[in-house]
Symmetry: C2
Subunit: 344 residues, 2 copies
């Protein structure tokens, strides 16, 4: 019942601790015969290395950290994080790495957690989500020398490697698609304005709006909750010159927006087209189903984990550009009705 140590194995094999250590780690210094004997005993007694002892002498914890700073409600309802975690986990556990998770209140708390993890040598590296426009974590992590991979970017990441994807192009393509369907008044319900990807999307939105000469393009910030999505949609649709298409920065808000439109007796897509960013299974459950910009999030997590492990191993990891989001058209988008079109 007591957990065996290498000393126990050494005693049973009639060799020293050192020999056992060499044998178990596949290092030279023991004969093939002795190695076999030691491995057999280790197997028999169910030996596993004590992680603390390994971490203490090897100065590696074989753990990476992920701190999330979103309120419980949002974390729960956003499939993104769990899908990302699934992907991270798949890669980490395949390489015998653990993942520790901490939910924090804000960016300062997250930084404090990183510092503590580092000082306590609890993790070998961290993943940084929700990159902010002027993110205090980037210079702090650089100063600490704690291996880190930023999920997002690729700008504003300092010297930290990033795993990113281009949001500007898919956004432009989506607006171009809506424009081709005849939409002239398009609104963008964006996410938290302090997040970098919100900035990227918003900038791209205004740029393409200018290019396509859509002077009434409007961006509104939100907090990703369904309530915010509903409230903003209600306001947008109540205005005299209401938009004929709305692009939401997550699926929950898009679903809420669809609900508001239906409550206001607007036909989707006849009177209003809706596009969601983040194509989770939820998008297929509504009626009409939501046209959405989707990516393979677990795969993104796998890449991020691979890169972080490489960075921990001391490799010189550069930025990695993942595939951009793909627009999947479903029932929520369509051509502008002639009447609605005429108002323009």
């Amino acid at each position: 019942m007591k957990r065996p140590t290498i000393a126990d194995i050494a005693k049973r094999a009639g060799v020293s601790k050192g020999a056992v250590s060499y044998a178990l780690n596949g290092r030279p210094g023991v004969s093939a015969e002795t190695r076999q004997r030691i491995l057999a005993i280790a197997e028999e007694v169910g030996w596993q290395p004590n992680s603390a002892a390994r971490a203490l002498s090897g100065s590696m914890s074989n753990v990476v950290g992920l701190a999330l700073c979103r309120p419980a409600r949002v974390l729960g309802i956003e499939p993104f994080f769990m899908e990302l975690i699934s992907g991270l986990e798949a890669e980490l556990s395949a390489r015998d790495y653990g993942l520790t998770l901490q939910v924090v209140a804000d960016a300062e708390a997250e930084l404090a957690v990183h510092r503590r993890w580092w000082a306590e040598r609890r993790v070998d590296g961290v993943l940084v989500c929700d990159l902010r426009v002027d993110d205090p974590r980037v210079p702090a992590l650089e100063a600490l020398g704690l291996p880190a991979v930023v999920i997002g970017g690729p700008t504003n990441t300092g010297a930290l490697p990033s795993v990113w994807h281009d949001d500007a192009r898919p956004l432009a393509e989506t607006v171009e698609y809506l424009s081709a369907l005849g939409h002239r008044r398009i609104a963008h319900v964006a996410g938290l304005p302090e997040l970098l990807h919100t900035r990227v999307r918003t900038d791209a939105f205004h740029e393409v709006a200018a290019r396509l000469e859509l002077p009434e393009a409007e961006t509104v910030s939100s907090d990703y909750t369904g309530e915010a999505g509903a409230r903003i949609t209600r306001r947008l649709l109540s205005s005299a010159r209401r938009p004929t298409a709305i692009l939401y920065d997550n699926d929950v808000m898009a679903i809420a927006g669809l609900g508001v439109a239906q409550e206001m007796r607007l036909d989707v897509p006849g009177d209003l087209s809706i596009v969601a960013w983040d194509d989770s299974p939820l998008c297929q459950l509504t009626h009409p189903a939501l046209t959405a910009l989707g990516r393979d999030i677990p795969a993104y997590g796998v890449i991020a984990a691979k890169r972080l492990l490489a960075a921990i191993a001391g490799e010189d990891v550069g930025d990695y550009r993942d595939l951009p989001a793909q627009l999947t058209t479903r029932g929520s988008t369509g051509a502008v009705r002639s009447r609605a079109g005429k108002v323009t």
Copy 2:
């Protein structure tokens, strides 16, 4: 830049390592004056205990483990797990405990993870989710002597303490409520049949159906996905004697079911009443909004964490019964239409 150790502090304070250890841990053996001096130095150099060294000598890792065995898609879309994790985390981090997460493929893999964690002394205790009817993890964890708290139960948990809530009563109340609204043909779209709570709910459903003399009460198993919910709903509503009310074991299936009903031009709640188990914000985004059985999941997580920490501390922890789910009625349930009622 190099992280300070107690030896560094000892040198600067002109005392021995032991004295520093006593001072930093608030134990007797040093004068108040010396203690102050040592604490000041520790503060100044930013000392934090090396977690590996502590774990090695103290034989406590200050980490608890949570293994989840659901596919990425389901994990992402079920708010339950993230909300639970938020709650767990709130309590754990307040007590300087970490949470390690692992996503696994099946119950055997989960057990293997528990064994490894135990053998490597990586965790001080584990949380067990998704209790199965005949769960191999229970006897295995008992045999290991690894502190564990089962989230679910209270039966089939052997000698392990559980944090549970009664599903039978809320289910019965829900069926009684539907019955009072005139529903006679009620279906139950249950979750994975191997999960204990599915069994509890299903048994309760048939018991109350017998009591209320609803011979056509039917339970169908599912895998919690929206696709399953849609498929089963389509089949139920296509039958000659279709149900007038359906109770779904999670919100995603309920939303999918609502979609199918609307696609089939059935009025909700006129032709069909819908109740969802798990009241996430999603339930309020549909039209009509979903009547749902909800609980405070983060609070449940806090309790589970408290209990696990108590069990780790060697306290004799008993089962804890949390509040049962509360039915929140919204637009998706209503009285049976006379025409529909007559069919009975």
